[in-house]
Amino acid sequence: MAKHYSSFERGGRRWLLQRLTAVFLIGVLAFHFLLLHFANHAANITFAGTQARMSQIGYFATMWLFLVTATFHGVNGVYNALINQGIEGTRKTAVKWVLVAASLLLIAQGTRVALAMNGFLQ
């Protein structure tokens, strides 16, 4: 019988969210690549094309959720990796709040960009 190892504290809220966001991101990241590299070639991207896509509420909502879930999944992954490297105490607390601040700034900036893309901020 194979052994079952995990670096994460099973049953915790971050453990569950990391997996739930993973399931969402598997589909959306694949969709993002297919749409913007295969269905539309990246070299042909224009603001007008981006605006046309982002003006559709379903696409806009999906992309905004993509931003939020990718930020959580990525930054939480970094935090887990650093815990795995053995940081603890004050360093762990400092890293946690730096990562929280970086995440909030990224989501705020990404939201501004999304609103500029759909024409709301221009």
């Binding site: 099973r10 997996r19 590299h37 295969f38 970094v78 501004r112």
Partner: protein, 131 residues
Amino acid sequence: MSQSYDRGTVEDFGRWREFSAGMWAWIFHKFTGWVLVGYLFTHIAVLSTALGGAELYTSTLQGLEALLVVRFLEVGLLAVAVFHILNGVRLLMVDLGVGLEAQDTSFYASMVLTGAIVVASVPTFLGGPLA
């Protein structure tokens, strides 16, 4: 009930020859994760040109796409993303306790499938107008 597993330090180069498939999967997942989160911040920074107007956004994106090195970096990004997705599916299966005895095989399958998808995608990524 989870068990903790002391993987030791990856930086201890002499240990690399002893690594099992699971250890390589863990290292590659971690490496691709660092690349993807780094790219996420870079991506939003580049897309922020949309705040400077339509012309700035279009010329920035098309200017970057005109560079051959950017096309190769995109192929690299695809490789990293595809592996992270496929190995992520494998990890979700492991978490659910599905196919535990096939962990090594599924890691090798992730690698082969990533390679096949990336190679098949190269013509698409290198197509289109270049500088």
